[in-house]
Amino acid sequence: MSVDREDIEKLGELARIDISDENAKSSVKSINDVLALVEQLQAADTANIEPLANPLEARQRLRPDEVSETNRREEFQAIAPATEEGLYLVPKVIE
């Protein structure tokens, strides 16, 4: 499997990463190099093998639905790029 310039631009759109003209060529090459490495997986026989997501096969721990943290909105918003009256500000989305 390999990708071309158009594929990389589509991926960039999905991942919100700008693939600008000057580095698109090297991105295509290096990503294809990585995909060629990854291609080795296809030769392995994995019939009837369960995928392993957690190395210890641990299950998600549950806890009672109780309040455990205090509200620290001011502290968290103090490090935000832009806030107003407790809200995070971003460019206008809806006209």
Binding site: D18, N23, S26, S30, I49, A78
Partner: protein, 486 residues
């Protein structure tokens, strides 16, 4: 004073030979004088360190019996661990302005033990790299050879310990990021079992692989550090509930009768003969101490790097989607709309290697490729784990090289990401399997350190530290100092 180990500094503080303030001033002065040569620190927290030291001195004089061994001893944190009130950059422009409002659990645990934090160490951006060349703050230089890389991603922690700028440091390991720089800088480093050390407040790269651990000069110092770093933490959903043993207790135990497996796949093509020679000499020393060496096979080893480069980028692309310029971190200038804000904040805030991995991850997870890549890689992950599970039926521990080559020069693998990825060929499998691994110095080739890797069974860190400590009692590679360091 800087040549003392963590254990010796602790004993000296206990005996009243020096105060924590004196020790801290000594290391801060060294950092100020010498770190221009290494670039191992991103942030030095002088004022805080001196305040912590003076508090530790008061605690020791008030009640010497109840303080921990680490009370008043200086360390450094990798700049991936959140530190309340202290900038935590993760080696990235994206977080250059990020001052977390909270401490990581590891930071909190060590603070409760009374350690003094000298500062935050340099690293590959978002821990993605094996050479420290991807840091936004510039590469770290290997104290043994200024034209060579220190390894990565915990290159700052490794170089700072090797240059005697701190006796120990925290670090993280997703595919070898503790063990490979430890090997290249001639120090000792341990990646614990997945879940042993809390990931809370440790900036995520690949969550099913990431694990924090200590770096120091000796196995004994790692044991002291791990005693306080390891804990069950309800804030980390994958934290282990197993109780934490005293890792110092069994350090000196006899290792005779122990069976050490030597995987044939770790000694094949690609292993530098000079590395092989040093590792074989170390294995012979373990044999001399009564351990039995047994040839074993880990038949899926060759698939670990390809499986890792699906799983790690896939998890990274999901984890790093949180950096969008909205809530914290970098936001581009004057975004025209929301899309422009996301696009430019991420493109300007992330470096090339991080972008590459996000794109590879997005590709492997995208519609039509999920089964062929991601699911396939997770199936292979099970095969790799089963290789180890079956090997550990016959052996107590596994040993081999940490990495194929000693430190390489800056730029040597510059435009070839795959060549760089293959430097982690012997370390990646343990992350995929969730097993503990460590590296300890076992030789020097042209003044470049070589590392011996030990891989233990799940939660068998105590026995690994025991083997490493016994080896260090019979060798002096760990106490060798890079040329030019007094």
């Amino acid at each position: 004073m800087h040549n003392l180990t963590l254990a010796e500094l602790s004993a000296g503080l206990d005996a009243g030979q020096f105060s924590s303030v004196e020790v801290t001033q000594h290391f801060l002065a060294r950092i100020k004088r010498l770190d221009g040569n290494y670039n191992s620190f991103i942030t030095v927290t002088e004022e805080r360190a001196l305040a912590q030291a003076s508090k530790a001195d008061k605690q020791r004089s008030a009640d010497a019996d109840s303080v921990s061994a680490l009370c008043g001893v200086p360390i450094a944190h990798k700049d991936i661990f959140c530190t309340a009130g202290v900038r935590t950059s993760c080696g990235s422009k994206m977080l250059d302005n990020f001052v977390p409002p909270y401490d990581a659990t590891v930071v909190e645990n060590l603070a409760a033990a009374g350690v003094v934090v000298l500062g935050k160490t340099n690293m590959d951006e978002f821990a993605m790299g094996s050479s420290n060349e991807t840091s936004y703050y510039g590469p770290v230089k290997n104290p043994w050879h200024s034209d060579c890389v220190p390894g990565g991603s915990s290159g700052g922690s490794a170089a700072a310990v090797a240059a005697r700028l701190t006796p120990a440091a925290t670090a993280t390991d997703t595919g070898g990021s503790i063990r490979q720089p430890a090997a290249l800088c001639g120090i000792t480093g341990l990646k614990p079992t997945y879940g042993r050390v809390s990931r809370w407040g440790m900036i995520a790269f690949a969550s099913s692989l990431d694990q924090g651990g200590p770096m120091a000069r000796t196995a004994e110092d790692l044991a002291l550090m791990l005693n306080h770093m390891a804990s069950f933490d309800t804030k980390d959903s994958t934290s282990s509930e197993q109780s934490v043993p005293d890792y110092c207790a069994g350090l000196s135990q006899d290792i005779s009768g122990m069976t050490i497996g030597v995987p044939e796949e770790y000694f094949g093509e690609g292993l530098n003969p000079v590395t092989e020679q040093a590792v074989n000499a170390a294995l012979a020393e373990l044999e001399k101490q009564g351990a039995k060496l047994k040839a074993i096979s880990l038949p899926h080893s060759h698939l670990s790097v390809p499986a890792y480069y699906v799983i790690a980028p896939a998890e990274a692309s999901a984890n790093l989607s949180r950096f969008d310029g909205s809530r914290y971190g970098y936001r581009c200038e004057n975004p025209v709309d929301l899309r422009d804000m996301y696009m430019r904040s991420r493109s300007e805030g992330f470096g090339d290697e991080v972008k590459r991995r996000i794109l590879v991850g997005a590709y492997c997870l995208s519609a039509g490729y999920y089964d062929a890549y991601y699911n396939k890689a997770m199936q292979i992950r099970r095969l790799i784990k089963e290789d180890f599970v079956s090997a550990f039926r016959d052996v107590d521990m596994i040993a081999g090289p940490t990495c194929p080559n000693p430190a390489f020069e800056f730029g040597a693998k510059g435009d070839d990401p795959v060549a760089m990825y293959l430097e982690d060929i012997y370390t990646i499998a343990t992350n995929l399997a969730g097993l503990p691994g460590m590296s300890l110095p076992c030789g020097l080739v042209d003044d470049k350190p070589v590392g011996l890797q030990l891989i233990g069974n799940y939660f068998d860190e105590g026995r690994m530290l025991n083997v490493a400590h016994r080896y260090q009692q019979a060798s002096d590679w760990h106490s060798r100092c890079a040329p030019g360091i007094d």
